[in-house]
Amino acid sequence: MLEIQVYLITVLSLLVIGLYCMTFKSNMIRILIGIEIILNAANLSFIAFSARMVGYVDLMGQSLVVMSIVLGGSVIAVGLTMVVNAYKHYKTLDVKELRRLRW
């Protein structure tokens, strides 16, 4: 059983990686991957906290993670649909080529 701090450091570094991915990458799919990385940071954090006490697991935290995986999948599915449609209009996946997008 690892200490909780190890998980928290991982969570914070995943948050930083995800934010970096969303700010500095111009590929639309990579931006969606950035969201997914931060979502996984949140999920990991929930799981780490729910199993913090030895011999006891809080089921609410774990079921919340199952739901959030499903919901995250739905968000990414909608996002990828938009990416496909944007690709049909612009023939590129580069967000900088999208005319009015200002991040």
Binding site: G79, M82, R100, L101
Partner: protein, 509 residues
């Protein structure tokens, strides 16, 4: 505990499934308007359900009800309803009814209408569910339901590039917000050991929490702020609102961003506010944080709105400014200030909803959103122009409209003894006066003498004019006689300040 049955949610979910299946059958047949009628009927039923909920809650001594299936709250999830939840559900469904009727003829040239109505009902179900949720588990599911349906609805007309681009931007920013809420909540969960708001409120050892409490608060503030369009996080809004179909713009601007604000207020008041004294400089820090964001939000919103030529984009920036006014009430932290905030949520949903619906009717006829090309349009579409004028005057806070009452309460709340933020009132009043500078030119443009002769322009169809007319009448009536809604909002604000202990104890005991 099974103190009530959430009829509102049940009706909305049944409606979502039925409209989708009927819509698919009608798409095959190539004709039929059953799905539109069904959606209107189910919204009306859900509105009735929220009124039933209001009746039930007024008969309870504490004004609280809990609904849970299976395990009781510490181990299971629940819906917890107080007057604030009922108020938000009622406001959402009240606007939804007008939007549903308006969509009837606005959307008739689009395809995939079964999906449209189904998603519209699901978005409403999401907003109502967020208002009724008693723990973070339920809250997050309904939150994401609302978000995902609104992403699809913004990008509904996918054959044009504008909605797709705005929709993608909205999706990325808003889902980043949702994910940050989840992360912030995971820290609170780690400290409290439970996802229930009431357990989070009492279960956290704030003395030992230190930096994690601040980190959780910052993440939650950013997350809800993205959805509520508080200024540094607002950049999705001026793109998403104009590009969405007009009924969806009305919904987004009227209630979805307010639901973000509701989430912020609910989590802040239940989890952070009772323990604010345990944090160093807690109450003062929170008060000034909200006050500063209120000032930034309303100033930037108004300045940016002044620069717009696109009528729907202008209204979108004006929504940001209105969120700034609502934050004044939250910053004051008193019952009176929150009363102003909630009253403004309801009035703004009517006024901005009407403004978007009326401008949508104009845009549909002239097929441009540029204000310069709308010169003299009022001669051809008098009813639409009159309703738009009333809504714009209301948004500007002219006396005898609903906007005046709520703004008066909001600006007055910052002057109350114990709050003493006269500068907030001053900036608010200046901003309100400043905002007239972009509402009046719209009216002037519409009633000016037409330069060319744009012949062949007809008035909007009756099914669009009827909801717009009723909303315009309501804005004036509630401006002269605000008591009914004032009473609702008063109960909502009291539930949050005086009834907060009961809200927490109801779950714990």
């Amino acid at each position: 505990m099974f103190e009530f049955i959430p009829y509102t949610l049940i009706f909305l979910f049944i409606g979502a499934v039925t409209t989708l299946s009927v819509g698919i059958i009608e798409e095959r047949l190539g004709k039929g308007r059953v799905k539109e009628w069904l959606s209107i009927i189910f919204i009306a039923l859900a509105l009735g359900g929220s009124l039933i909920l209001y009746n039930e809650i007024t008969s309870k001594p504490l004004g609280l009800m809990v609904f849970s299936i299976g395990n009781e709250p510490p181990l299971g999830s629940c819906l917890e309803v107080d007057r604030l939840s009922v108020f938000m559900a009622f406001s959402t469904l009240f606007l939804s009814l007008f939007v549903g009727v308006y969509s009837f003829s606005y959307m008739e040239h689009d395809t995939r209408l079964g999906e449209y109505y189904s998603l519209l009902l699901l978005m409403m179900a999401g907003m109502v569910g967020v208002a009724l949720a008693g723990d973070f588990f339920t809250f997050f599911i309904f939150w994401e339901l609302m978000c995902i349906s609104s992403y699809v609805l913004v990008a509904f007309r996918k054959e044009r590039w504008g909605p797709i681009e705005a929709g993608f931007k909205y999706l990325v920013m808003s889902s980043l917000g949702s994910v940050l809420i989840l992360l912030g909540m995971s820290f609170l969960y780690g400290m409290a050991g439970n996802v229930n708001f009431a357990y989070m409120s009492v279960g956290i050892n704030w003395g030992a929490a230190g930096i994690w409490a601040y980190l959780a608060f910052i993440l939650l503030f950013i997350g809800f702020g993205v959805k509520a369009a508080i200024v540094p996080m607002h950049t999705w809004l001026p793109d998403a609102h104009p590009e969405a179909p007009s009924p969806i713009s009305a919904m987004l601007s009227g209630m979805v961003i307010e639901t973000g604000l509701y989430g912020l207020i609910r989590v802040f008041y239940v989890v952070f506010m009772p323990n604010a004294t345990l944090l160093p400089n807690g109450p003062e820090m929170f008060k000034y944080l909200f006050a500063i964001f209120a000032v930034i939000t309303m100033s930037i919103g108004n300045i940016m709105a002044l620069l717009q030529k696109d009528i729907k984009r202008l209204l979108a920036y004006s929504s940001i400014a209105q969120i700034g006014y609502m934050l004044i009430g939250v910053a004051s932290g008193t019952t009176y200030g929150l009363l102003g905030s909630f009253l403004h949520i309801f009035n703004h949903s009517l006024m901005k909803g009407l403004a978007f619906l009326a401008s949508g009717a104009l845009v549909e006829r002239v097929e441009t959103r540029n204000l310069d090309e709308m010169k003299g349009l009022g001669r051809f579409m008098p009813v639409t122009t009159i309703t738009l004028t009333i809504s714009l005057l209301g948004l500007g806070g002219v006396p005898a409209t609903a906007g005046f009452v709520s703004k008066f309460i909001l600006f007055g709340s910052a002057l109350a003894p114990g709050v003493d933020m006269w500068w907030l009132t001053l900036i608010g009043v200046l901003n309100s006066a400043f905002s007239i500078a972009y509402y009046l030119p719209i009216i002037r443009t519409l009633i000016a003498t037409p330069t060319g002769a744009p012949s062949g322009l007809k008035e909007a169809p009756a099914s669009m004019l009827i909801p717009m007319g009723i909303m315009a009448i309501l804005i004036v009536v509630l401006g002269v006689y605000p008591q009914p809604i004032l009473q609702l909002a008063d109960g909502a604000s009291k539930a949050l300040t005086e009834g907060l202990q009961n809200y927490i104890l109801k779950i714990l005991l």
